[in-house]
Structures are given as C-alpha cells and as structure tokens.
C-alpha cells in the first residue's frame, strides 16, 4: 500500500491508517474482497508498532470496512464502498459545517453565504468541465 505516515502532524498514526483505507475504498483503489496486508506486514512496511496497526484494523472492522476470514487474513467488506461513501459525506458535511459556522461567526447572513456557495459551485463545475 502506498500509505505514508506523517509523524510531524498531530493526527494519531492509527487514524491516518484508517483514513487512508477510507479514501482508498471510496476512490475504488481498494475493492470489496481485496486482501489487506496482515497487521505484522503493514507494521513492518510503515515501521510502526503492530499495536497501532491492530488498533486501526479494529476501528475499520467496527466501521464495517473490513472483516477477518478465520485463518486467512483480512479483507475489504462488500459493504465497504457504501460505508466509504457515508464516511466521505460525513467528512464533507463536517467541513462545510465548520466553514458555515465560521462565516456566521464573522457576521455574514444566511443569504450571503448561500450566494457565495452558489458562486463556488458554479466555478468548480466550470473548472471540472474544462479539465475534461
């Protein structure tokens, strides 16, 4: 896996692993039933404590992204893409929520915010269209 751990930031390592898997599933890089490296393998690859990887895998299992086949290893769940989409939506909602809260805090009205939002949407769609 092409995951790189950033030590200097504040994000816990296990969370970085979890988020990477979220993104990989969301973008289709990891498909349902794809195998994941064992805890030990990933720990060696990233040069981190295996407990950290184990914790990440546990979290992902809880969130329904991965499951363990007894004696065979860890695999991506079939429902993972759905979970990934939900997770992605949640993150986007959170980010937008922060931006809106910031805007409201600085004194903007709801309609002003809506106007800017529409502008940004149009601009981004245009750029996406031009890139294609």
């Amino acid at each position: 896996m092409q995951l790189k751990i950033d030590i200097t930031g504040g994000t816990p390592i296990y969370l970085q692993i979890v988020e990477y898997i979220h993104r990989a599933v969301g973008s289709g890089r990891l498909k349902p039933e794809d195998p994941l490296p064992s805890v030990r393998q990933l720990a060696l690859e990233l040069t981190v404590n295996p407990n950290t990887v184990a914790r990440a895998y546990l979290e992902l299992e809880h969130q329904g992204f991965i499951y363990k086949r007894p004696g065979q290893g860890t695999y991506v769940c079939t429902q993972a893409p759905g979970a990934a989409r939900r997770e992605r939506n949640r993150i986007v909602a959170e980010r937008l929520g922060k931006a809106v809260a910031e805007a409201l805090q600085s004194g903007m009205s709801a309609s002003e915010i809506q106007e800017i939002f529409d502008q940004v949407m149009q601009q981004s769609a245009l750029e996406a269209y031009e890139r294609r």
Partner: protein, 293 residues
Amino acid sequence: MNAVETDRLTRIFGRVCAVHSVTLQVPEGAVFGLLGANGAGKSTLLRLLAGHLKPTSGIASILGRPAYPPVPARWLRLGYVSQSRYLPAWMTIGQCLDFARAMRPRWDVGKVERLSRRFELPLDARIRDLSRGHYVRLQIVLALAHNPEVILLDEPTSGLDPAARRELLSMLIDEIGLRGRTVVLSSQLVEDIERMADVVAIMDGGSLVATGAPDALKGSRSRIECASPVAEADLCAVPGLVELRRGPDGAVAVTNEPDGAIQFLRARGVEAATVVAPSLEEVFFDYVNRRPQ
C-alpha cells in the same frame, strides 16, 4: 503482571541526582518509550533496570523480582543494549557470538543466523574495529538471541544513518510482533518513540514529567484555535486550561480537556473553535519547558 516496575526509584552520583523518584509500570507485552534530551537520566534509569547500578533509594523490579542485586539467571530472560561500548575488544564477532551461545541454553541458532545475514555482520571482524552501526547490530543480536521476555534498549538508533535506523526499528517491530515481549526503548528522537511506543514517558532532569499513550499525551496539550477573535477572558476560563499562549495571530488556549473546552466556548457563542492536536514533539517541548525561540 507488570514486566517492569519502579517505585520512587532514585540514583544519586555524588552531588548529581541522575534519576529522581521515578515511578512507572510497564505491562507485559508493551513497548515503553523513554523520551528525553541528553542528561535527562534515561541511560541511568535503564542501567538501574538492568541491575548494573544500585538504587540510592526506591526499588526497581523486572519480571517480579528486584533488579538489584542482579541474579545471573535473569539474564536468560532479559536482553540489554547499552549506549556504551564494553564488549571485549579482542574478540571477533563470531567468537563473541559463540561465547554468548555457550553461556545460554536457549540460544536460537536459526534466529542468530537470520539476523547475522540480514545485518551483514562480518564474523571475522574484531570488535575493536567495528563501526557504530555494526557494533549496535551485534549488541542487538546478542540481546535477542535467547528470546528474552524483556528487552531494554538505550538509544539504539543514535549515531545511525536514516536507513540503518529504519532497519533497526523494523527489526524491533519483528521482535515485538512476537507475543509476550516487553520492550523498554529510550531515544532522543521523538519520531522513533512515536512510531514504536505504546506508552511514552518524558524524562527531564532525572524526573518523569509525563507518562501516557502518545494520543493521550497529545490530548493533554490540545490547542484550541479560533478563526475569529475571542475574548481572552473566555479563553482563560476554558476548562482544563494548562496554558494560555499569546501568538501573533491571537491567543491560543492549551488544555487537557479539549471536548469540554469546545462545548464551553460554544456555550459562550464561539462557534468556530477547533481542536488542534499537537505533534508529540510539541508536547515534549511543552513538558520540558524548552520551546525553541
């Protein structure tokens, strides 16, 4: 059961208090990271744990038994990598390994061969001629060959280039993966500790100034950042406030109760407050009060 335990462990050399009333517990199977600058007391603490030094007061125990005076049989269950060089200079690597093997019944020949090959240890080289890298690798092989339950490492990566450091850490990870191994690792490099440790202990001036899992330590020094200006009075009253920092972009509250702080500020109408987790390095600087200017 705690594999390693100390209770108010103190060691004084003449007028210098190298280790001051250190109390810690390392559960079985954990990786305990000791983080501190030069002279913080990490080496002395490890030497006390290994039984090479007698405590001035307090006790240290390894695997349920007092660390001092050292019982020879304990060295069958303990591995220690020191920072100083005291392997017999006249021996070759091969002779040293053979000697250590003759002293221990539970010598894992296969493992030693594997490690020697992986480390590319020149068996005919004399120990006095070894570079730092080869020397510490030999120390590691000697410390791990008998599959000890507890491994103490004193700054094993110091003096190594980044590739060798990675190699060493990854070799330790291999070892940690095996159940029941307890590792106590000291380092000046925050990155090493962050990668490896389940529990981090920050040492400064001989004392243990903070202990906890890396995430918990970071959480204890969460920064509350607000996008828009907030009244200092509000920030001062934030629950769990540890420090109020005044920077060029305004004041930042450092708290050990980030969630409580956010709720408190929201209740005061401050919506755009976010928690920024510091890096372990920043936490370290905080605790030893030595922030680079």
